[in-house]
């Protein structure tokens, strides 16, 4: 509220002095609804975008949504901006809206994402062959639980996140049983418990993610996926000549910004700003660490991030607002 008051006065002064600085004041005054999810990096990035939109004269509001409902909300224009669209877990829902013409792709960040089998560092001491995937078979008994024994247990995310895992296990001849957790909370709840007792565990994880800061660990290295994705489309590619999916997940998955389809028409200058915003991997890590490691709240972290990256932030401000 106070923010908004201040902004109004600033806008009023600007209007009175007739400086062209707040050219965007002529655009819609309806607030831009910025989506606020429930993990640190996204929360800080959303607030960075919000602060920058505020600075160039827009009204903005944060709207809390989970990753499931947000795409419908952006499709109908109830929410307008998502700063982190992940390739691995959100591609299908995102593309559905994009193809229906209800959302547009707001461009990729430089930061890439990786979603892969992962283990906390102490597992390496118990199973020294890691991170190479062949170690999974050597340590199968060690990585098993009574209900999967003698096969190793791999704790994956919800089944629809990575359906290719089933085929990968067969194609690479792994002695592994998949157990599907229903949510990220479940995944990391088990990790927390296992790490407290240094129990061996292999689970699904992604980067950038706060988990890396709290529990250092590594991704398992499967055979590298080729650039043309032949590994998935052509069975003869790779070490198993008869089956596809004999490789790991893509290493550099995209991290995009997602916009409501009507965004560019209604808020043209904001659209320019959002297309310019481009976070690198280290920038995102730093933003998340301000919350997860330094204990700042999300608003303070966003303000501090802009302050300490002022040059970068300035370079994102488009001409229409300069």
């Amino acid at each position: 509220m106070k923010n908004r008051m201040m902004k109004l006065t600033v806008a009023a002064i600007a209007a009175a002095s007739m400086t062209p600085m707040f050219a965007v004041a002529a655009e819609s005054e309806d607030p831009i609804q910025v989506i606020d999810n429930n993990w640190s990096s996204q929360k800080v990035l959303a607030r960075v975008a919000k602060l920058m939109l505020d600075q160039i004269g827009y009204n903005t509001e944060l709207v809390t949504l989970d990753t499931q409902s947000q795409f419908a909300a952006m499709g109908t224009g109830d929410a307008h901006l998502q700063m982190e669209v992940w390739e691995g877990s959100m591609n299908a829902s995102f593309m559905k809206e994009v193809e229906a013409g209800r959302m547009i792709d707001g461009g990729s960040h430089q930061a890439t994402t990786r979603e892969e089998w992962w283990y906390p560092d102490y597992v390496e001491e118990l199973c020294p062959g890691l991170p190479d995937y062949t170690a999974l078979n050597d340590c199968a008994e060690l990585l098993s639980t009574p209900e999967t024994s003698p096969s190793a247990r791999y704790l994956s995310g919800p089944a629809e996140w990575h359906p290719e895992d089933v085929e990968r296990i067969e194609a690479l001849g792994l002695d592994v049983v998949i157990v599907n957790a229903g949510s990220a909370d479940a995944l990391f709840g088990e990790l927390k418990s296992a790490a407290a007792r240094k129990e061996p565990i292999i689970l699904f994880n992604w980067a950038p993610n706060w988990v890396g800061a709290a529990y250092p660990g590594k991704f398992i290295e499967f055979p590298r996926r080729d650039a043309d994705n032949k590994c998935v489309t052509d069975p003869s590619w790779g070490i198993n000549p008869d089956m596809a999916n004999d490789c790991g997940a893509a290493v550099g998955g995209y991290l995009k910004k997602g916009l409501w389809a009507g965004f560019a028409d209604k808020y043209p200058c904001a659209n320019d700003l959002i297309s310019n915003i481009d976070f690198t991997g280290p920038m995102i890590d730093a933003a998340a660490a301000m919350v997860d490691v330094d204990g700042l709240d999300h608003d303070a972290a966003a303000a501090k991030w802009i302050e300490s990256n002022q040059e970068v932030a300035d370079s994102w401000v488009p001409e229409c607002a300069a």
Binding site: M5, N38, P158, A186, S193, R197
Partner: protein, 665 residues
Amino acid sequence: MNTSTPVVKQSGALPAKRNLIYLVLVAVIIIAGILAKGQFAWVAKYPRKWVIPLKDWITDFFEWLVYGVTFFKGQSYEFVPTDITRGMIKVFEYQLSFTDGIFFDGFRIGVDPLPWITVVGLMAILGHWVAGWRMAMIAGGSFLYLSMFSVWRPAMDTFSLVLLTVPLVFTIGLLLAIRMSKSLRAERFITPFFDLMQAMPPFAYMVPIVVLFGIGDVPAMLAVSVFAVPPVARCILLGLKTVPNEVIEAGEMAGCTPRQMLWRVKVPTSRSTVLVGLNQGIMQTLAMIVLASLIGASGLGNELLNSLQTLKLGKALEQGLAIVVIAVALDRLSAAYAHKPKQYIDQSLPWMAKHKHLVFAAAFVIASIVLAWLVPALRVLPKEWPLTTAPMWDAGVDWVLLNWYDNVQGFRNFVLIDILIPIKKFMLSIPWPTFIGLVVLLGYRLGGWKLSLAVGLMISFPLLTGLWKETMITIYMIGSAAVFCIVVGFPIGLIASKNERLSRYIILTCDFFQTFPSFIYLIPVIMLFKVSDISAIIAVLAFALVPMIRYTNLGFRNVPFSIREAAIQQGATRWQQLRKVELPLAAPEIMLGINQVIFMALFMVAITALIGTQDLGSEINRARTGNKTGRALVAGLCIAFLGMISDRLIKAWRKQHSYRQENHD
């Protein structure tokens, strides 16, 4: 009664013969199923091409409704359906911005929200007005807790939402109940919808609500209403129907118009039942707060989910407790108000003296605001305010993890590998014609052909819509959880019924668990039991155990003292008393408890999907990705039908049973 004569007359021979026929039928169905399974592929696995694509139809319908259709195209008054739904949202948004303004957001014109000291004091005054000093302590103390444990802002956010939702729920409930009390046709029409709304997990109808109404506090309010209206309306309807005839006759003699009869006679007479309805509305609303935050409701629910996401269990627990505290305060206040005797005040007194509480409250508001203006800590507590129990809880969880983990594993592995997995395999191996056949037969046995037709249709629904496997896994999960609940809950309820002091603690614990957000159990359960079916079942247990204890307690307490005395005089041992006398008399209530257990467990199915299951709950969870309206609703309907089947069967059993009892008397 005419129909009862033959049963009484031939009570010896006929039932035995009848039971034999049923036994033979059961055997035939089972054997035929097993034989047919080997013969025909369509028995072993229901063919995909026979599946009715109902979910695609529903999804297409919503696509059309939201994005496709425009009414009166080209006219000046053309509109799309979402214009209507969005218009409704706008209406409520205005009200919400007002309560939000008072409690936590302030107003744009520069007015701050009420200081915490004012709200705490007002609640205490309200408590005193309703039921004296004790209530003042409870209400004021609850809100003091909220302010002291740094959850004030989200708590007030939630409180403001509750303050608006509860009257909405109550009004809709009251109007529906009045409509239903006036015409049997209306009651018959609305009741199935209520059954469905109560048995369907809220997750399932959240997707269509998002598509139609959007996201945020107001759509969340609507989702809560869908969940909370039926019990409220049912309660009020019960009150209106049980108004004594003499009272109505008196009203008629006094020449009441129908309107006067309703508002001056029936509603005031059933005041306490109507207010129990209000009470239900409050409890149901708070029970839904965490789920509502999944579609954009801000406040405690949202904060709690955020804490869980980063595994800050202690903090999540404090936020969960805050929800319980609000629930308890409002529950006690409304319950006390329901029982508040009407006070007759001397009309000759001056206005000030007649409205002491109001005057005092107004004076307090002014004084406290001035005070808070002088002392900022009374307005908003400083951020570094040290009171938090979170580290203690976190340490507690870590301790349990380190010290209990190994002991728990033996139990976990035994139950999982030697009990649960075999049951699951067995359930999945039952041919579908056998299962449907047995359900139909049971329906016939308990309630005749009408019931058997109803349950037969309902159990066929998952088969026809292609969700048979998920449904069987759901039945396995729910069934196992229900057995656990009975095994654990029955003795606790029994003990509670025999011991006054213990009973009070047990009931208190039950109250707590009923409003404590079930999301919080998920993480500790996973930490101890890993992602597996047993985790899901234990999470269900924590929530569904409550009704088992409550109803068992109630059942044994309601056994008439004279009957117990008679049994003792006849020289029955304690064990005989319990088994031969008390248990049969308490059985109807206990069955009602089991019925509730099943409903609660079905409610939890959608939530335990977050642990990781392969049942209908995970089907709904999957549908929420990408907002597949049809998929969510069809899976929701399957769950609702399971609940309704068990409800119908248990009610029929009770009817038969209490009928027999009457005959024995």
